[in-house]
């Protein structure tokens, strides 16, 4: 270049041309250097940071919430489902007048007051509520939570620049109070608080995922940009053995009876005998999981699982099974029953007055005689009695998939007081849940094999594959022969004994009534716990119904649960298309001394002799003697104490 310059100094126009190109070249070079430096700076010194900043501006990460699984009944009807909802929020600091563009290209001015009215209309809220939410200078405040997509769309169309929507979800329970406490409910902060929702939370919940992607300036996703995704794992669904129709019917029947008798509460358990599957757990009053705020705290749990009560005479079935299995007695064994029993200074009476009677053991059970039961059961040692109760699961939880199950109260045999060792034979001085009582009858109906009850039938994965939940192994408690003999006595109780109202037209039914005094929270006893547990059809027991009423008001002879049992059992048998019984019921003579008197006794004796007569002198003493399992050794047993127990009707 230098040469070119020197050779052409004289040539003026040429020099000008060369000079121009020289300046141009220098300029270009200078630019190149600047660009080069910039390149070095951007690429060499701060490459990662800048790329990150740029990507950060474009990329968005959002959490993909896992969809909570459904809870279904045995037929697949949905009991709990998660729906998409929106939370409407506001940035209060931005609330001011704004211009809303209209479809025809013009704009209209919207004042905050107008916005309040429009929002209130869209959300179906009070104007003042919306106004309160918009007033202030907080940058985040909820206007409404859990609004439907439809409502949110209306809000969005208002175009309020300071109102936002964030997706949320809402758990809805289509059946509401039908099985509400079994299905359970969720708290406001998405925490499972009751029922299956709580115990199966881990399965139902799933795992949240996240998604990172890049968006363009107008908010549309850039299709070719890299994206990261951690996959969301939706929760599994849980299928229960609960049958909504049976659950509803049982609930309606129990509610009617509890209302009629002004009972504190009532429960019904419906169970399939073969595998211990629970078909209904009805309560007389139940939470609506959609609206737990207005629920009575008492209604939140399943009472037949959470409440232990003294079972009363239904426990005579356990005593009978133990005595038959131990070879002490058979249903036809003749026993002389005295008007009352004095044993170790304890007076045991029956619910009805009678002279000395020659009865079969079946006759003792059928008319629910405490005296005869103690005569037979007394042949077992207290340790044996305790062991037999343990073998039937008394004092232990069943392990059903519901929260707060009570194990009941079974004190060890050496802690029983002198009276309690006999009263446990007819279900006083021991407490268990109505569900546990049901499992004792389940074992008898199932040929002596007890299967612990379960309410979860299968788990359905997010991909739709259904996995049956493993059921507990059945455990043989008594021999098949023993179970059959006890079943015969249960049938005689319904056909010839004191529980004729439990009969179901067309089917052979067996069962046992129970009436126990209910321990008062203030100590002693007040009111009764009445119950009936039965199975059908007796020739091949398939279903079990257990009805319990706590503190029904009225005459002790008319506060039983047999009619309710009959209604529910009838409905269950028809619902599951069980063919009517074609065989004749078993017949065992109840009395062997005077058959004519037997008819009278079975028909009228329990009714004609109100146990209430004994009540004034009875209750206090009984309370002292049997302050209940909570205080088994409290107080000296009163010799004259007599127990009112069971009612035939």
């Amino acid at each position: 270049m230098a040469r070119a310059r020197s050779t052409s100094t004289g040539d003026a126009p040429g020099a000008r041309g060369i000079g121009r190109s020289h300046i141009g070249v220098v300029l270009v070079l200078g630019l190149l250097v600047v660009l080069g430096l910039r390149l070095v700076w951007v690429q060499g010194f701060d490459a990662a940071g800048r790329a990150e900043a740029a990507a950060g501006e474009r990329s968005r990460t959002e959490v993909v919430p896992a969809l909570r699984g459904e809870i279904r009944d045995t037929h697949g009807n949905v009991l709990a489902r998660t729906l998409q909802r929106y939370d409407v929020t506001v940035d209060q600091s931005l609330v001011r007048e704004f211009a809303r563009p209209l479809a025809d290209g013009t704009t209209e001015t919207v004042t905050p007051t107008q916005a309040v009215y429009q929002l209130a209309d869209a959300l179906e809220l009070e104007d003042t509520e919306v106004k309160d939410a918009l007033d202030g200078d907080k940058q985040f405040e909820y206007v409404a939570r859990g609004v439907t997509p439809e409502q949110w769309n209306t809000v969005r169309e208002l175009g309020l620049p300071y109102v936002y929507g964030q997706t949320s979800s809402d758990r809805i329970y289509p059946n509401g109070p039908v099985g509400g406490s079994v299905v359970g409910f969720m708290g406001g902060d998405d925490e499972a608080l009751g029922g299956i929702e709580q115990t199966q939370d881990e399965l139902l919940r799933g795992t949240d995922g996240s998604r990172t992607f890049e968006i363009s300036a107008d908010g549309v996703r850039i299709p070719v940009a890299p994206q990261e995704e951690s996959p969301v794992e939706d929760g599994s669904s849980v299928q229960l053995s609960i049958d909504s129709d049976v659950q509803f019917f049982a609930q309606q029947a129990v509610m009617e009876r509890a209302e009629e008798l002004d009972a504190e509460w009532g429960t019904a358990v419906v169970m399939r005998i073969e595998d211990g599957a629970v078909l209904a757990l009805a309560d007389s009053s139940t939470v609506d999981p959609n609206d737990i705020g207005s629920a009575d705290p008492e209604d939140l749990g399943v009472r037949s699982v959470q409440n232990a009560v003294e079972p009363g005479s239904t426990q005579k079935i356990l005593t009978a099974a133990a005595a038959v299995e131990e070879g002490v007695v058979t249903p036809r064994t003749e026993i002389t029953v005295p008007p009352f029993l004095e044993i170790e200074g304890q007076k045991i009476t029956d619910a009805f007055d009678h002279g000395e009677q020659q009865r079969t053991f079946a006759g003792i059970i059928a008319d629910s005689m405490n005296t005869g039961t103690v005569l037979v059961g007394g042949k077992l040692s207290p340790e044996q009695r305790h062991e037999w109760m343990q073998r039937f699961g008394v004092g232990e939880t069943t392990g059903i998939e519901l929260p707060g199950e009570s194990p009941g109260i079974l004190t060890s045999a050496d802690q029983w007081d002198v009276r309690q060792q006999y009263t446990v034979l007819f279900g006083q001085g021991v407490a268990q849940t109505p569900l546990r009582t049901a499992t004792i009858f389940q074992a008898i109906g199932n040929g002596g094999v007890q299967v612990e009850p379960r309410v979860v039938e299968s788990v359905i994965g997010p991909d739709g594959t259904s996995t049956p939940v493993e059921r507990p192994e059945g455990e043989r408690v008594v021999s098949e022969e023993t179970a059959q003999q006890v079943l015969d006595m249960m049938e005689v109780t319904v056909t010839q004994g004191g529980a004729k109202e439990a009969a179901v037209e067309g089917y052979r039914v067996g069962g046992k009534t129970g009436t126990a005094e209910a321990p008062s929270p203030e100590g002693g006893y007040d009111g009764y716990t009445t119950s009936f547990v039965g199975v059908a059809p007796v020739e091949d027991p398939q279903y079990l119904v257990a009805v319990t009423l706590q503190r029904p008001q009225g005459d002790v002879r008319a506060i039983g649960t047999t009619p309710t049992f009959s209604r529910i059992m009838g409905q269950v048998l028809r619902h599951y298309d069980v063919p009517p019984s074609t065989t004749e019921p078993v017949k065992i003579p109840l009395r062997t001394d005077d058959p004519e008197e037997e008819d009278e006794a079975e028909g009228t004796a329990p009714v004609d002799t109100p146990p209430g007569v004994e009540a004034p002198e009875d209750t206090d003493v009984a309370s002292d003697a049997e302050a209940g399992p909570g205080a088994p050794a409290a107080g000296a047993p009163a010799p004259a104490a007599s127990r009112r127990d069971d009612e035939g009707d």
Binding site: P149, Y173, V220
Partner: protein, 238 residues
């Protein structure tokens, strides 16, 4: 463009002009084209002239064909470039257009699934056992109590079936689900409210009528009618 090709050309043209049928008439002579491929000619291809030793070939002007070819290559590449760019542009527009369409479809999908959700919610509400029972009662249906069974082996009816009797005060005690965001639930809540009001009204009317009945005979001792004097009645509050 070899000699073979040149030689065959007329034949092919003939074939294409006259069609294969023209060859069929001239038996024994095979057509130059069989099927889709040309048959191999039996006569040897005419070879090119042999070089004539050191004889210098006369110089001649090369026709400007090569030049024309270069120009067309540039044009061709330019065209190819433009086409390539244009197709990339079109593709990009397509992709981003597709992205907008995707967003639109997603929104549509969401709207539809939300609509589906709302309808399912209503359906399941109607399907709940207590709501079915209430609706059945409103239609005047009564629960059957005594049902019979048909024995298919001999065609007899077992049991003692009776027509269902309407019951008094058959009320569905189990309440409906208290849901938000379901029109079905809102309607059910309204109906329940109406029913509650009617019940209260009915009770009030009944109470008034009873009070009236109690008061009426007290007012007239002739209420019994006939020749026998009506039995004396106590007036309430006496």
């Amino acid at each position: 463009m070899s000699g073979t090709g040149l030689q065959r050309r007329p034949a092919r043209t003939a074939a294409s002009r006259t069609g294969i049928g023209a060859w069929a008439g001239r038996r024994g002579q095979r057509p130059p084209v069989e099927g889709t491929s040309a048959r191999q000619l039996s006569s040897p291809a005419p070879h090119t002239e042999e070089p004539t030793g050191s004889t210098r070939a006369p110089l001649s002007v090369v026709p400007g064909r090569a030049r024309r070819q270069r120009v067309s290559t540039v044009v061709l590449s330019l065209v190819a470039l433009v086409v390539a760019l244009a197709s990339i542009l079109v593709l990009n527009i397509q992709i981003s257009g597709g992205q907008y369409r995707l967003v639109e479809l997603r929104a549509q999908e969401q709207a539809l699934s939300q609509q589906n959700e709302a309808l399912t919610q209503d359906l399941e509400f109607y399907n709940a056992p207590q709501n079915l029972a209430v609706m059945a009662t409103d239609l005047g249906m009564v629960p059957a109590r005594d049902s019979g069974t048909v024995d298919l082996t001999n065609g007899t009816v077992e049991g003692d079936p009776l027509p269902a009797q309407p019951q008094e005060n058959h009320e569905i005690l189990v309440e409906h689900a208290n849901q938000t965001g379901s029109e079905a639930a809102d309607r059910a809540a309204q109906r329940a409210e109406v029913r509650e009001r009617e019940k209260a009204e009915q009770e009030r009317v009944d109470a008034e009528r009873r009070a009236g009945e109690d008061a009426a005979p007290a007012g007239g001792a002739e209420a019994g009618g006939g020749s026998l004097p009506a039995p004396p009645q106590r007036t309430p509050g006496e």
